[in-house]
């Protein structure tokens, strides 16, 4: 059985490698084709010259540069009296950069490609994962395991092959942000963490670029435009970063897929308004979206702060200082959030998931306490585990005591020895906190399972679901 499985795995691996190779060749050819079509259409191409001329370079008897194909493609825009030829022409000459091809970036990119911005840049260093699919609608299942930038660019090109799509397959850092941002007129912040938001805002201030900023978590979203027409920047509003404990992540707190979708669409709208010079961009105001209550509120926020370190008159924050600024230290949180790995316990207070598995198989008398929140426990749990969420642990010690006693009676543990007490959680952090607490309260032999349920999936049972 086992050799059979490893053979299949091996075959899968080599097929995947071959597929990746073919995909690479397809992308290269697509890019090549893109170049050729662009040249034929006489749209400027290559590496980021300013988008100055659009369509055929001669005026075709009208006072605009729209080709027949463009007139057909964008006809519904052209028919809008408040948009029309002028706004579409502006749009076609503009360039927009979307940082992050995730939940916010997905719809933002699709609409920006569809509407006909001249150049559309995508920054992302991540790969597509199965648990992205519920909200990151630009990606398709065939791209799982491949770079989001490739997947997003592919989707954008298939929506509108006349837009110049630029792939920045790299993490945004202070070392590359200025160079990348310089090539675009409007920046869209579709990232998911605090240090990126400060970095992107500061970079926009230094280069004088308008910033369309969106965020979503759980069932709520927020949207505003920074650094536009004398309006505030991100630091004007939030001069001091929040404590890291107040920065929740979608991977921990969850998010309803359509919520970032809505905010991402609104980000595309604001970027389009700025790029085409129509309407009133959402500057000096903030949109707050509450999905559960079906409530959208637009509130008035402060203007540019006279004390803002980044954007005040005569601010001394230079490009050189930006390059050297440590945003992770400033916000006390990482740019590319990776799961926290605490080490609070001595080795003899811990046990690997493999060893725990062996002990269960040997019929060891024990109680397994799962300290995850109840709604996590409902998703999946190990057999016979007792769910006591960490915040209620102390109050529920008696339950642990009686569970241990019951187990000892059932397994008729001889006098002198007793049932073991193990603690598990999702990734092995809360379980350590729980064991510390248990030790203090006299359960001195309590041990936690290193790496939590994730290690169970990884080392014991590959079919055990992860979330």
């Amino acid at each position: 059985m086992e050799s059979n499985a490893s053979q299949i795995l091996h075959e899968l691996e080599s097929l995947r490698a071959a597929k990746a190779d073919i995909d690479r060749r397809i992308s290269a050819l697509e890019a090549q084709l893109q170049q050729v079509t662009l040249q034929n259409d006489a749209i400027p191409n290559g590496s980021y010259p300013p988008i100055s001329t659009v369509g055929s370079s001669h005026l075709n008897g009208h006072d605009h540069h729209l080709t027949p194909a463009m007139i057909h493609r964008y006809s519904r825009h052209l028919l809008l009296p408040s948009f029309g030829v002028q706004a579409q022409s502006n749009l076609l000459k503009s360039s927009v950069l979307v940082v992050g091809a995730g939940g916010l970036g997905s719809p933002a990119l699709l609409y920006l490609a569809a509407c006909g911005v001249g150049r559309l840049g995508i920054v992302d260093h991540d790969v597509v994962e199965l648990n992205n699919m519920h909200r990151q609608i630009i990606h398709t299942e065939t791209f799982i395991g491949r770079p989001k930038v490739k997947s997003a660019a592919n989707a954008c090109r298939s929506v509108n092959s006349t837009v110049e799509i630029v792939e920045h397959h790299e993490a945004l850092r202070t070392s590359n942000a200025l160079e990348i941002f310089n090539k675009y007129d409007v920046i869209v912040d579709a990232t998911d963490n605090a240090p990126s938001r400060y970095m992107i805002s500061d970079c926009c201030v230094l280069l004088g670029k308008p910033l369309v900023s969106g965020a979503a978590l759980g069932l709520e979203g927020q949207l505003t435009v920074y650094n536009y027409n004398g309006g505030p920047c991100y630091r004007c509003l939030f001069p001091t970063p929040p404590p890291a404990t107040a920065c929740q992540r979608c991977a921990d707190s969850g998010v309803l897929g359509v919520v970032p979708g809505i905010i991402g669409c609104l980000q595309a709208l604001e970027a389009i308004k700025i790029a085409s010079a129509i309407g009133e961009p959402l500057s000096g105001r903030m949109l707050l979206f509450n999905a559960l209550e079906a409530r959208i509120r637009i509130v008035k926020i402060r203007g540019r702060s006279l004390q803002c370190e980044a954007c005040k008159e005569n601010a001394t924050f230079t490009q050189q200082q930006f390059r050297e600024f440590d945003y992770e230290k400033f916000t006390q949180s990482p740019l590319a959030p990776s799961p926290l790995k605490l080490k609070l316990l001595q080795a003899d207070s811990r046990i690997s998931s493999k060893e725990y598995h062996e002990r269960v198989a040997n019929g060891e008398a024990h109680v397994l306490v799962d300290v995850r929140p109840a709604h996590h426990f409902k998703i999946v749990s190990l057999p016979k585990s007792l769910n006591i969420p960490l915040p209620s642990l102390e109050a529920r010690f008696p339950e642990i005591t009686s569970a241990l006693k019951e187990e000892e009676e059932q397994k008729s543990v001889g006098s002198g020895s007793s049932a073991q007490l193990y603690v598990i959680c999702r990734r092995g952090n809360d379980s350590q906190r729980a064991v510390q607490c248990l030790h203090k309260m006299g359960f001195t032999s309590a041990r936690d399972i290193v790496g939590g349920l994730e290690s169970w999936t990884h080392d014991v049972d590959a079919n055990f679901p992860t979330y």
């Binding site: 969106g214 709520e220 929040p242 509120r297």
Partner: protein
């Protein structure tokens, strides 16, 4: 405090509506509160209200809401849908039936 919170408008005099504290206050999103004026004071200020909220509403982890005598970094305070920076921050005076909402800035996406 994750977001805008919901709130009802009460017609009862002497009351203020507060939204956005649900994560800190047993999931209650709207608080219609009656705050007595300090003796001698003519008007209630945001500073008074924050002190009152801290004493009477916040049940756990006050550091998730306040730092010193003001709100913690990353929280926007809105008085009648307006950033309190525009009305004098802690010195903002409140009228009956005013609506105060605390917004915690989001970073996810």
């Amino acid at each position: 405090m994750a977001g805008s919170g919901s709130f009802g408008i009460s017609s009862a005099p002497g009351h203020y509506n507060i939204g956005g504290l649900e994560l800190l206050c047993d999931s209650v999103k709207v608080h219609n509160v009656k705050v007595e004026l300090q003796n001698g004071a003519e008007k209630l200020t945001m500073k008074d209200l924050l002190g009152w909220v801290r004493t009477n509403l916040i049940k756990e982890r006050p550091e998730m809401f306040m730092k010193g005598d003001t709100v913690r970094p990353g929280v926007l305070v809105l008085v009648n849908d307006c950033d309190w920076e525009l009305s004098g921050q802690l010195d903002t005076t409140l009228e009956e039936k005013d609506v105060v909402v605390f917004i915690s800035t989001l970073h996810g996406g």
